[in-house]
Every structure is written in structure tokens, then in C-alpha cells.
């Protein structure tokens, strides 16, 4: 009885399936075409404005179009007017990188090696500055340190903001790599041969987490050079970084100048992005910590 019922339902399911295969086939083609259309539209949406702004920065008169001729005059104007902001941004990025390397690499290593509750809490805390809006961190810094004029008006004020904001990227990049390597076994080996902690840190830990350090460094530099949310609140007329200058030009100068300035920004970030592509670093800084440590955590501890 039940087998007969089953056969009957199976047969009707087969019939339905065959019918579906027929119009499912054309439907699938239609869906694939739609998928292509959406993808191409997204590509156009992302790429066309970049091309347009590069063109606009090189055009004599953008309103009249490229036919008005190509020129480098806007780039020159931007350079004479804003080259300070370019150098300041590079200096701030370099200072931020040095500080995040010094404090972030050891922290990432500790967090990867310690699986205690306390280390999880520390990890949570360190990530807070990027989980909350940059505006919050900036206002908080202003409230507490805004009164100390010498600090407030120096570039160090911006560096401090950038360090707090980029530190999690360095820590997580290093921690992700450190967690995926069996540092503990290597270190135990070295320790049994009489290596001191410092020797182990410089000859085993640092070389092993180097990919993480490189990934973190690239992320820190890129984020620092492009940071606006914090920097806009923290800057003074004497400490204008590149994105702050960009906002100024967009608001007040002609579109060709804004575009030329944007070209300068592209030229500055391009090497970093190419390096990230080349090394396979995820520019969002999420893959590094999202997947690797979790996989690591699932495998039972070797000891």
C-alpha cells in the first residue's frame, strides 16, 4: 500500500520535474542574463565615476567636455596649493604605522596565544573604536584633551586618533596569522634548547607572523591616509590632511580642481592597493580575523 503510494507520488514528481526542466531551462538562461546585467551595472556604477573624475581632473573645462582639451594645470594648481596636506598625511600615516607596529604586534601575539576570558575581553575592548562611529571617538578625544592647546593644535592629536582607530586592524591581522601557526610548539622547542623569551620573540614569533604584520601595516597605512570621520573633527587649519583638503576643494573649488586632487589621492593609495591585491590581503581587514581564528579555535588544543 505504502509502496504503491510512494511510487505514485514519485511518478508525479518525476513528471513535474520533467516539465520544470523544460521551462526551467529557459528560466535559468533568463536568470543568468539578469545576473550578468546586475554585475555589469555594478561594475559601471563603481568604475565609471572613477574614470570620470580622472578625466575631469585633466580637462581644461569639464562643463564643455574633453573636447576643450587636456591639461595638467589643475594638477599643478592642486600641488602648489595642497602639497603640504599630502606630506602631512604621509607623515601621520608613517607615525601611526610605527606606533601600531610597536604596540600592536605584541598585543596581537598575546591575544592569539592566550585563550583566556580576560584576553577575549581585551580583544573586544580594542575593537570598540572601529565598531562605534568615528565621530564618537573624535568627540571623546576633544572633550578630554581639547583644552590642552599644544596637543590639540599639533599633528600628534590626529596621530593619536588614527592609532586608536587603526590599532585593531594591526592586532587582528597579527593575531589571525599567529593563531594559524603552531607557535607554541616551536617556542617550546626553542625554550628547551635554552632560548630566552626575547630570543624566541625575535627569531620565531616575528618571522612567523610576518605575513600578518605586512597585511596589518598595509591596512593601517591605507586607513590612515584615507581617514576622514575622525580627522575632520580633530584637524586645525595648520593640520590639514589629504582627505580634509579634499573635502575643502569639493565644497568650494571648481570640479576640475576637486578631480585633480582626487587623482593625487588615487596616485597615493594605488601602490598600497596594488600591494594588497598582490599579497592577497583583504582590504576590509575582516577575513583575517573572521575565519582563521575561528577555525583554529574549533580544533582541540594539541596539549
Amino acid at each position: 500500500m505504502s509502496t504503491m503510494l510512494e511510487t505514485r507520488t514519485e511518478a508525479s514528481a518525476m513528471r513535474r520535474a520533467m516539465l520544470r526542466v523544460k521551462d526551467g531551462f529557459s528560466l535559468r538562461h533568463l536568470l543568468a542574463a539578469g545576473q550578468w546585467a546586475v554585475t555589469l551595472l555594478i561594475c559601471a556604477f563603481l568604475i565609471v565615476p572613477v574614470v570620470m573624475s580622472i578625466l575631469a581632473g585633466l580637462t581644461v573645462n569639464y562643463f564643455r567636455g574633453v573636447s576643450s582639451g587636456l591639461t595638467l594645470q589643475w594638477l599643478e594648481q592642486v600641488w602648489t596649493q595642497y602639497h603640504d596636506s599630502v606630506f602631512l598625511s604621509l607623515e601621520i600615516a608613517a607615525a601611526t604605522l610605527i606606533i601600531t607596529l610597536i604596540i600592536g604586534v605584541p598585543a596581537g601575539y598575546v591575544l592569539a596565544r592566550s585563550k583566556t576570558r580576560a584576553s577575549r575581553i581585551v580583544e573586544e575592548l580594542l575593537v570598540l573604536p572601529i565598531a562605534l562611529p568615528g565621530l564618537a571617538s573624535a568627540l571623546a578625544l576633544l572633550v578630554l584633551y581639547g583644552g590642552i592647546t599644544a596637543f590639540r593644535t599639533s599633528a600628534a592629536f590626529i596621530v593619536v586618533g588614527h592609532v586608536v582607530f587603526t590599532l585593531p586592524f594591526m592586532v587582528r591581522a597579527v593575531a589571525a596569522v599567529a593563531a594559524s601557526t603552531d607557535l607554541r610548539t616551536l617556542e617550546e622547542g626553542a625554550a628547551s634548547l635554552g632560548a630566552t623569551f626575547w630570543q624566541r620573540f625575535t627569531t620565531i614569533v616575528v618571522p612567523n607572523v610576518r605575513p600578518g604584520i605586512v597585511a596589518g601595516a598595509l591596512a593601517v597605512l591605507t586607513l590612515s591616509i584615507g581617514e576622514f570621520n575622525l580627522t575632520w573633527m580633530l584637524h586645525t587649519p595648520d593640520t590639514k590632511t589629504l582627505p580634509v583638503g579634499l573635502a575643502d576643494t569639493y565644497a568650494s573649488l571648481r570640479i576640475e580642481v576637486g578631480s585633480a586632487y582626487t587623482i593625487v589621492f588615487f596616485i597615493m593609495t594605488m601602490p598600497l592597493l596594488v600591494a594588497m591585491q598582490w599579497l592577497g590581503v583583504d582590504a576590509t581587514g575582516q577575513r583575517g580575523l573572521g575565519n582563521k581564528p575561528r577555525r583554529q579555535r574549533k580544533t582541540p588544543s594539541a596539549s
Binding site: 546586475v38 568627540l139 570621520n229
Partner: protein, 274 residues
């Protein structure tokens, strides 16, 4: 569990510098901000803030905008990310490199990109003028902001979708297809559930970023009524520190809640990168 190669004093010594910087330049200032926002009597100050129609409309608009951006980004990125993860075609590597290029753009540049597309001298305006005789300019409004955040979020989410899509077991889909499931059913019952942890995490980041983003709105128009702009106006133009601090705390709490819920659902670390 005891780790002889890594004694506690070394752990503390190595993490202390990072914690010190964090405490001095984030935790302490944040505590101060909370204190300022309370203005002596926390309950009354916050009640006044939450009862203020203008601020709450601003908060509501920000939440609706961020949710809309998140949904649109997820839908578009799933459609496109599945294609990009599964098909091989000429120039794919270059295309992917170009797609991830905007990842490093700050909000201000994203705003400028929207102006390039839909501003007064934008491409869409020029095209629509030729086609319909009407010049479409929508960069300097909430719509412009929507497209700006879309521009900002799509590359991030596509990367996530592609990463999860390459891990999908295609034999499951083939089995479903052989059993007569329609493409729509396969999508709903197999592909989307498999992608969902990644999607929830990416969506939460997308939402949080849109909530706190400031540069794009700043470039497009300073009168767009989203909460970060309201905070900025209160702080700079009205010099109303108490309100600015209070609204910042509200914005922070809402953002943090979304991330916390998403993380509880997916179990992975989630953070915004504005």
C-alpha cells in the same frame, strides 16, 4: 593548559602598551564624553534628548537609510558575487581588482563619486537631459547619500559573498535540481542558507558603517538630515556639547547593538570600517 614558554608576566608586559594607549586615548575620553552627555542629571538629559522630535526623526531617518542600503547591497552583492565566484571569463582578475579599488576610498571621495554620477555636472544628468529632456540631479539629497553608501558597501559585501560562495558544495544544488527544484527554490533552500552567516556579518558591518558615516554626507550636502550630520551641526554651529555628546552615545549604542546581535547570530567577530 599551563604554558611554560609564555609566562603571565610576559603576556601582561606585551599587551600593556596597547591597553595603555587604548585606555588613555579611547576609554578615558569616552568616559568623559558619557559624563558630559549626562550634564549632571543623566536621566532628565537623556529623556529630553529621546523626547526631542527633531533628533528622533534624524535617528529614524538614519536607521531607515542604513537598513535600505544594507538590504540593497546584500541583494545586489549576492546576485553579482555568485556570478563572479563561479564563472571564469576573460579579464576576471582585472575586473575584481577594479571592483575592490573603491574599498580604500574615504567617505568624502565616495561623495565626490556620487557627484560625478548624479551631480549638477554628472553623467546621469547629461544622459537624462539627452534622452528625456529632463536633467536628473539627485546627488545632494538622501537619494544621493543612499547611492554613496551603496558605492561604499558593495565592494565589501561582494568580497564576502565570493569568499563564502567558493566554499559552497555544488553537488547539493545539482541534487536539488535533479529532484526538480526550481532555480528559485534552490536559491531559497540551499544557496542562501549556506551564505547566510557571511551575509549577516557583512550586512551588520554595512549597517553600522552607514549609521556612523560622515564624510559622504558632508561632501554631498550639509543639510541632509542624518544623525552624524545632526551631531556635527550641534557640535560646531550650535556649540551644544551636551546634546552632541548625548546623540553620539545614542548613535554608538544603536550601532553597537546591531553588531552585537549579528555577532551572536553568526558567532564571528564583526566590526565596522567607516
Amino acid at each position: 593548559m599551563h604554558d611554560i614558554t609564555f609566562p603571565l608576566r610576559w603576556r601582561i608586559a606585551l599587551i600593556a602598551p596597547a591597553l595603555a594607549v587604548f585606555a588613555a586615548f579611547w576609554l578615558l575620553p569616552m568616559g568623559m564624553l558619557v559624563q558630559v552627555s549626562a550634564d549632571g542629571h543623566a536621566f532628565d538629559t537623556y529623556r529630553a534628548l529621546l523626547a526631542n522630535g527633531r533628533y528622533m526623526r534624524s535617528l529614524g531617518a538614519t536607521v531607515v537609510l542604513s537598513a535600505a542600503v544594507t538590504l540593497a547591497t546584500l541583494a545586489l552583492s549576492v546576485i553579482s558575487g555568485l556570478l563572479l565566484a563561479r564563472r571564469e571569463f576573460f579579464g576576471k582578475r582585472t575586473l575584481l581588482a577594479l571592483l575592490t579599488f573603491p574599498l580604500a576610498f574615504p567617505g568624502v571621495v565616495v561623495g565626490f563619486m556620487v557627484i560625478m554620477l548624479a551631480g549638477r555636472q554628472g553623467l546621469i544628468g547629461a544622459l537624462s537631459l539627452r534622452l528625456t529632456g529632463d536633467k536628473w540631479v539627485f546627488a545632494y539629497s538622501m537619494t544621493g547619500l543612499f547611492f554613496g553608501y551603496l558605492y561604499f558597501s558593495i565592494p565589501r559585501v561582494i568580497v564576502t559573498v565570493m569568499a563564502s560562495a567558493t566554499k559552497l558544495d555544488r553537488s547539493l544544488e545539482e541534487a536539488a535540481r535533479s529532484l526538480g527544484a526550481s532555480p528559485w527554490q534552490i536559491m531559497r533552500d540551499i544557496v542562501l542558507p549556506a551564505l547566510s552567516p557571511g551575509l549577516i556579518a557583512a550586512g551588520a558591518v554595512c549597517f553600522a558603517t552607514a549609521m556612523g558615516a560622515f564624510g559622504t554626507a558632508f561632501t554631498l550636502a550639509t543639510d541632509i538630515d542624518v544623525l552624524p550630520m545632526t551631531i556635527y551641526t550641534e557640535f560646531t554651529l550650535n556649540a551644544n556639547m551636551v546634546t552632541a555628546a548625548g546623540l553620539t552615545i545614542v548613535l554608538g549604542v544603536v550601532t553597537w547593538l546591531v553588531l552585537a546581535v549579528a555577532r551572536n547570530v553568526t558567532g564571528s567577530a564583526v566590526a565596522a570600517t567607516a
